[in-house]
Symmetry: C2
Subunit: 306 residues, 2 copies
């Protein structure tokens, strides 16, 4: 059997990363970040969120960013942009300057769902119905995030079976890709194995599942390797590990894009990304957010043994 | 087949960690550190080095530490201490206040060997002959470190076949345990797999090989999981990741003991160690070395999902 060595990286730094940074960056800086990341070879980038700036001030002006990025003359042909859409109004805003993908979200923990979006898991799905209708009508692809799959800061252990059920539900609703989030970075390869084993038994399409690991307890790359062993080829990462962990200040959050790219290169997997460019972007965005970013390869440098 | 779930942790922070710290700690503080680690359940600890304080000022007074630790009335029965011994003179000093184990060292890179110890690999083995004789005569167990197994800061890629040959040579010389060092943290699970596959083909005793990973590029725990899959059950770690990486200032060095213990607990492996105690020791030693330690679990806290 020929092993597929091509790995897809979904860069979520400009959205999931920056929305957890204290410093609010201008839309111009955020557009520059997205362009730099695209030029470095990242062709799946989540650039913003159509949420109220009252809730998430860091994401203000997402519509202006979309407009600017759609007008980018040097835009790489393979670039696919996505933005988070919380409700019908957000989707209407999205469609004024449409991107390739709209992202939905829910959680496996009721408490997390309430604290994060002030609704139950069931209600979060009800909110999606008009979004999905509009997306289908306008030929916009859908991605969906499931948070707290491996544990919740409020509920503790969460149900893997429920996560599999929600993943299946998303696929049946026409979502193209489901992102499985270890929101607080508590998973080890054992939990990842248990989850992916359930997915395989349920015959879910492994090529449409993305794993979204946090490196809070140093386990992110170990979890990536376990996922690769199960045939997963899509991973969400954040340049420089932007955003940190809101539930453990000072700890790492999103797996850093450069750390994933280093591992993949050393293991013989292929990506579209230039590692040296990533480390340069790490240092550039570090100045903008004005605090040290904690990625491993950002600190060690992009040296690859040959 | 019953899988062996017991994992042995060799704590090298008081020696390998502190010798790379700028601040020189007193022998009293270093003895306190060793005692705290032993009380936390670590029963294999390398506490010092019988080297000249002109070379390694951080290790001054190792003989006084040995004396003090041998007199410790509350010393746990299972505690096994080791100290690094570079030459015959060092071994004579060691024997004045003997510990359970003496540690030898070499590298797979000639350039590293010269820069580190001013001798070739061959000469490093010649230096060991009188040490081994004295150890055998006095019933002292031997452990040996091989550095730069997966890459060298001066030579780049190093030979895995040479590392296997040196490991075999150590066993034939009567060494009890060989520690395989990823000195600059460049290995991924692919290189670990290649190395352990060679060891297995050579029929080396896997239960006497310890893996010594650095987390410089975030791959340490992924490498641990790969090693566990090959039957390895011994790992060197350093409390708080003490020492950092001398070849990449600001980057992580030794895998932190608390990060390994978190992973093992989440995967169902058994250790003798209390994770909460480790995090307390992390914060205590952080004050002593007077700079932030970068371990993941030290920053996130010792929370374990139940």
């Amino acid at each position: 059997m020929m092993k597929n060595l091509n790995v897809k990286i979904i860069e979520v730094g400009p959205r999931d990363g920056l929305q957890n940074e204290k410093k609010i960056l201008s839309t111009a800086d955020r557009v520059t970040l997205v362009k730099k990341l695209a030029v470095a070879g990242l062709n799946q980038i989540e650039f913003g969120a159509y949420v109220s700036p009252k809730w998430v001030p860091q994401m203000y002006g997402t519509e202006r960013m979309a407009k600017s990025l759609n007008k980018w003359t040097a835009r790489p042909k393979k670039l696919s942009l996505s933005a988070l859409v919380p409700n019908e109004y957000g989707m209407q805003e999205f469609l004024k300057n449409p991107s390739e993908k709209a992202s939905l979200f829910t959680a496996t923990s009721e408490k997390f769902s309430f604290k994060n979006t002030n609704c139950s898991i069931k209600e979060s799905f009800e909110r999606m119905i008009p979004i999905i209708k509009l997306a289908t009508k306008n030929k916009i692809k859908l991605r969906a995030y499931i948070s707290t799959v491996f544990g919740c800061p409020f509920e503790g252990q969460t149900s893997l079976a429920r996560a599999v059920k929600l993943t299946d539900k998303f696929f049946k609703m026409g979502v193209h890709e489901v992102s499985i989030g270890d929101t607080i970075g508590v998973a080890s390869p054992k939990q990842v194995r248990n989850f992916l084993d359930l997915c395989e038994k349920k015959r879910l399409p492994m090529n449409r599942i993305a794993m979204h690991f946090h490196d809070t307890r140093g386990t992110a790359l170990a979890n990536v390797v376990e996922s690769l062993n199960w045939g997963i080829r899509s991973f969400d990462t954040s340049i420089g590990g932007l955003g940190g962990c809101p539930y453990a200040p000072g700890a790492l959050g999103n797996l850093a894009t450069e750390d994933l790219v280093y591992l993949l290169k050393r293991m013989g997997y292929k990506t579209s990304v230039n590692l040296k460019s990533l480390v340069r972007i790490h240092h550039w965005i570090q100045k903008k957010v004005a605090h040290p970013l904690n990625s491993h390869v950002g600190a060690s440098g992009p040296w690859i043994l040959t």
